[in-house]
Amino acid sequence: MLSQIRPAFVMITAMTLLTGVLYPLAMTGAAQALFPAEANGSLVMKNGQVIGSSLVAQAFTDPGYFHPRPSAASYDGGASSGSNLGPTSAALKQRIETDVARLAADNPGVPVPIDLVTTSGSGLDPEISPAAATFQAPRVARARGLEVAAVRALVGRIVVSRSFGILGEPRVNVLALNLALNELAPASIPGSRAGEPVAANGGMR
């Protein structure tokens, strides 16, 4: 054993230099040179201010905006988390019941798409299903004084289909949808300054 101690420490030092220093720093350099926007978090800028990331859900509560899925992490981009409630958890059932009752008022008589009343694994799921967006269209249209059909058409434009028609699920990015909505109909929503130019994926940090 003792004769192996020296090579062990030499080897861990060599490997640390190679895989712990050289590798990540070279990767950082290459990533910053090749894909700067993605390497810096796919941030969305507006008037030189970061308004979020296209890959991180942010809270929307105003009826004039599309809402993301509920978040067990309170949309904290610095502490991702799921609810981790089991399928027979009473807390889970109660939470879903409450959310369904609230959402049913938006769109009476229509079953609520399941992703709108379940928390995601990360708590930061930036997307909702096309069904969940369509479900919210009447509420958003009412709040903004738009035709429901116009809002639905907007959703249709923002929907991303499966990669190569096969992989994953069709989905709608909530931040992209709400930005497009602001362009379409500058609404009297506090805090929103609609119509201002937005650079998606822009900006280095």
Binding site: P7, S53, T61, Y65, G78, T88, G121, G123, G168, E169
Partner: protein, 569 residues
């Protein structure tokens, strides 16, 4: 539903198509042949070997020496990592000013990454500095995988050897695994991930002002480089707390598919490497087939449970046609979440793209069972294959008993010594899961970590100790594992699960390497036929699975019954 099945088929076909040539490449690398990377990397290899005092020409080690070298290297790695985690507060690359870890958490985490478990009792973005991630955890991601691959190669040499004394040289195997396999694949894969949206920077966390005017902090970091190796090396430790469910770790269906392939790529290549090295590809293909059968069985159970959704939720006014979406991401849906859960627990990877704690009771049963059978369905890099070889020896032994002949495998007599050593390895899982798990149910300080009451609570304990002992690292994340008790006990379980498997398997390899080969006769039981594949599958399920059936009946199966009756707790 149809699109999910299509993705499953595509996945299996692509996996086999990539694993076959990689297996042949691995065989060449570990037989010392020159590969296309040789001109570039050979000087580095020689340089490191020389620094370690190894002469490549006369380096063949007896299995005992090989095992000692592996243990010494892992001990040194543990020591360095433990020190780094404790001293995190004074080390550089720490823009958030995160403090050093507590002794028990540092012990647990260092053991976890050295044993290729990557169990995480902490949340990445709230606990680890960039220094700890890159220079500490990242290094072990490479070298714990390298250790697994090296030992896997040594065990295969034992089976392939003809009256040889040694099983190879640990230091050279380790360097080759990192230089010729893990590093090139990680560089390519890491850049692919950045292109798709995984961050790779050293900036501090970003403060954003959202559209509604709220403040949001967004974690950053050198994630892509880490995630590439965490998947390829069946490590699985997340850069961020919610692991591969976080969009920054796994932003698109394309990254998801590629990461799932990366999880099983090297493990699935091992049977083909074996086939090449024993000069009979049919032997490797038979083991691959048995693994695939078990994999598809687990996938069917998990997917079937998840897509049906939760009957308790179905009573409400919801459209649950997408299946059980609690803890799942929209871009993956139930199909890709079930496939990932199956792949990550088949391998000893343990990264998750959906929260297993919120899976349906039978949907969580299959991942748990795959860990409890020792992760031999492809398994961890190297470790999965030598685990499966233990089952192969047992199958040959049982088949020999049935027909009344001395069991043989690849022309070598399997005798009492090899079977005894295999059984020692098999006893580790029941010890870690059932004995340690039972202790956790009786000690109040341990029970306090359980989040959900009822059978689901027992499942949380079972899952934690299965994951630890099996060196998987996935978790029922509701289980509050970061306590001195569980940090210590799961740490010990991880050590047992790693080394009480490695040492007997190297001993078997050493014993087989020294044996004469006997020519096959009419009485030899062929080990490349569908009959053998069927027997091997049955042995894995019966020996591996039945041990845990009573515990599973009280956990997931009891919860399934309660759920059908509409009961909540």
């Amino acid at each position: 539903m149809a699109s999910d099945i299509l993705q499953f088929i595509l996945y299996c076909v692509l996996l086999a198509a990539l694993a076959w040539p990689l297996g042949i490449y691995l065989a060449r690398v570990f037989s010392g042949e020159q590969t296309f990377l040789f001109p570039l990397l050979a000087p580095v290899e020689t340089g490191i070997a020389r620094a370690c005092g190894v002469d490549p020409r006369t380096a063949d080690q007896h299995w005992t020496r090989y095992a000692l070298a592996a243990l010494a290297f892992n001990l040194a790695g543990w020591f360095v990592l433990y020190a780094m985690l404790r001293l995190q507060g004074v080390l550089p690359f720490n823009p958030q000013g995160l403090p050093g870890l507590s002794p028990d958490l540092a012990f647990n985490t260092a053991v976890s990454f050295v044993t290729n478990t990557n169990w995480q009792a902490y949340g990445g973005e709230t606990t680890m500095s960039y220094f700890s991630q890159m220079v500490g955890l990242g290094v072990q991601n490479f070298v714990s995988a390298g250790t697994g691959i090296a030992v896997g190669a040594a065990v295969i040499r034992g089976f392939a050897g003809r009256e040889t004394r040694g099983v190879g040289n640990f230091w050279i195997d380790l360097v080759r695994a990192v230089l010729y396999v893990l590093l090139p694949l990680s560089i390519l894969f890491g850049l692919f991930l950045v292109w798709q949206g995984v961050p790779q920077n050293l900036a501090s966390y970003v403060d954003a002002t959202t559209l509604e005017g709220a403040k949001q902090t967004i974690a950053q970091g050198p994630a892509a480089a880490q995630i590439a190796i965490k998947q390829l090396g069946t490590n699985g430790g997340g850069f961020f707390n919610a692991n591969s469910a976080v969009p920054y770790e796994n932003p698109t269906p394309l990254t998801n598919f590629a990461e799932m392939l990366a999880i099983l790529l090297i493990p699935a290549a091992f049977p083909f490497m074996f086939g090449t090295m024993v000069r009979d590809m049919r032997q490797g293909a038979a083991i691959f087939a048995a693994m695939l059968v078990l994999f598809l069985g687990s996938l069917a159970l998990t997917y079937g449970s998840e897509i049906q959704g939760n009957p308790i939720v179905a009573e409400l006014q919801v459209d649950q046609s997408a299946g059980n979406m609690e803890g799942k991401e929209v871009r993956f849906g139930t199909g890709n979440s079930a496939l990932w859960a199956t792949a990550t627990t088949a391998a000893s990877n343990g990264s998750v793209n959906a929260m297993h704690d919120s899976f349906m009771p039978l949907g969580m049963l299959a991942p748990m069972l795959q860990m409890q059978t020792g992760e031999v369905v492809f398994g961890g890099v190297g470790s999965g294959f030598y685990g499966m070889l233990a089952f192969v020896l047992l199958t040959v032994f049982i088949a020999g008993l049935m027909v009344g002949r001395t069991p043989e495998y690849l022309g070598k007599k399997i005798e009492a010594k090899e079977v005894k050593l295999s059984v020692i390895a098999f006893l580790v899982m029941p010890l870690g899961v059932l004995v340690f798990g039972a202790m956790a149910t009786m000690i109040p300080a341990a029970l306090a970590s359980v989040q959900d009451a009822g059978p689901h609570g027992l499942s949380e304990i079972l899952y934690a100790y299965s994951s630890g002992t099996g060196n998987n690292g996935s978790a029922f994340a509701g289980f509050g594992a970061n306590t001195p008790y569980h940090n210590t006990m799961i740490g010990i379980a991880m050590l047992l699960g790693r080394y009480v498997f490695i040492i007997p398997m190297l001993a078997i390899a050493g014993s087989l390497a020294a044996k004469k080969t006997v020519p096959a006769s009419a009485g030899t039981f062929p080990t490349h036929t569908p009959l053998f594949v069927g027997l091997l599958v049955a042995v894995v399920l019966i020996i591996g699975g039945l041990t845990f059936f009573p515990a599973l009946a009280l956990g997931p199966i009891a919860e399934h019954m309660a759920m059908l009756a509409g009961q909540t707790v």
